[in-house]
């Protein structure tokens, strides 16, 4: 299951107080897809490449989380987004040729969204879930070097 579908379905089953944050995330993801297409065209990146195993495994994890209780799924989404934000924040430097991407993926709006998701992550006793998501994130980075 793609991240967009996962988030849209999570919004559909979210309790009323969480709907604003999750709806904002879905809108941002639509804009993100537009941004990807602009960047890809500018830099000659082929977005039609087939998915690699780590990508498929991450999407499969989202499919499993789609069938998990809401509290589990929203906590997983927070982990996914937080590690992504922190990784790109770690990559920030004045010399990186990828500064435009670093700036985009550490923008205040995204930071605020991740913080708001942290407020929704209310599940206790889910260390394995956090570890599972982080493992998939590491595998996703590993894939880039494979």
């Amino acid at each position: 299951m793609t991240c967009f579908t996962f988030q849209a379905r999570l919004l559909a089953r979210a309790p009323r107080p969480a709907q604003g944050v999750l709806a904002g995330g879905c809108v941002a993801l639509v804009a993100e897809l537009d941004w990807f297409e602009v960047q890809a065209a500018r830099r000659g990146i082929d977005l039609g490449q087939p998915a690699l195993p780590a990508t498929l495994a991450y999407n499969e994890l989202l499919g499993r989380l789609d069938g998990a209780p809401y509290d589990v799924a929203v906590t997983a989404l927070w982990v996914l987004e937080r590690v992504y934000l922190l990784a790109w924040a770690s990559a920030a430097s004045n010399t990186s040729p990828f500064g435009e991407f670093v700036e985009h993926w550490t923008a205040p709006g995204f930071t605020g969204y991740v913080d708001a998701l942290g407020e929704l992550a209310i599940l206790d006793g889910q260390d394995d879930l956090v570890g599972d998501v982080l493992s998939h994130e590491v595998a996703f980075w590993d894939m880039a070097l494979a």
């Binding site: 897809l33 990828f98 493992s135």
Partner: protein, 50 residues
């Protein structure tokens, strides 16, 4: 300590591995090959695309 902070702290090894990943380091120092970056972006787009 909030729950979200504790959940993160309990998985600090994996979190540190992600944040100190060689790709992240090479993004920072500018040594990441453009082809590798392009592949990452394409996979990231696939991951989120509807």
């Amino acid at each position: 300590m909030t729950l979200s902070v504790r959940l993160w702290a309990d998985n600090s090894d994996l979190a540190a591995e992600a944040l100190a990943h060689p790709v992240v380091c090479r993004l920072s120092d500018g040594s990441l090959a453009c082809e590798i970056f392009a592949s990452y972006v394409a996979q990231d787009a696939f991951f989120i695309r509807n």
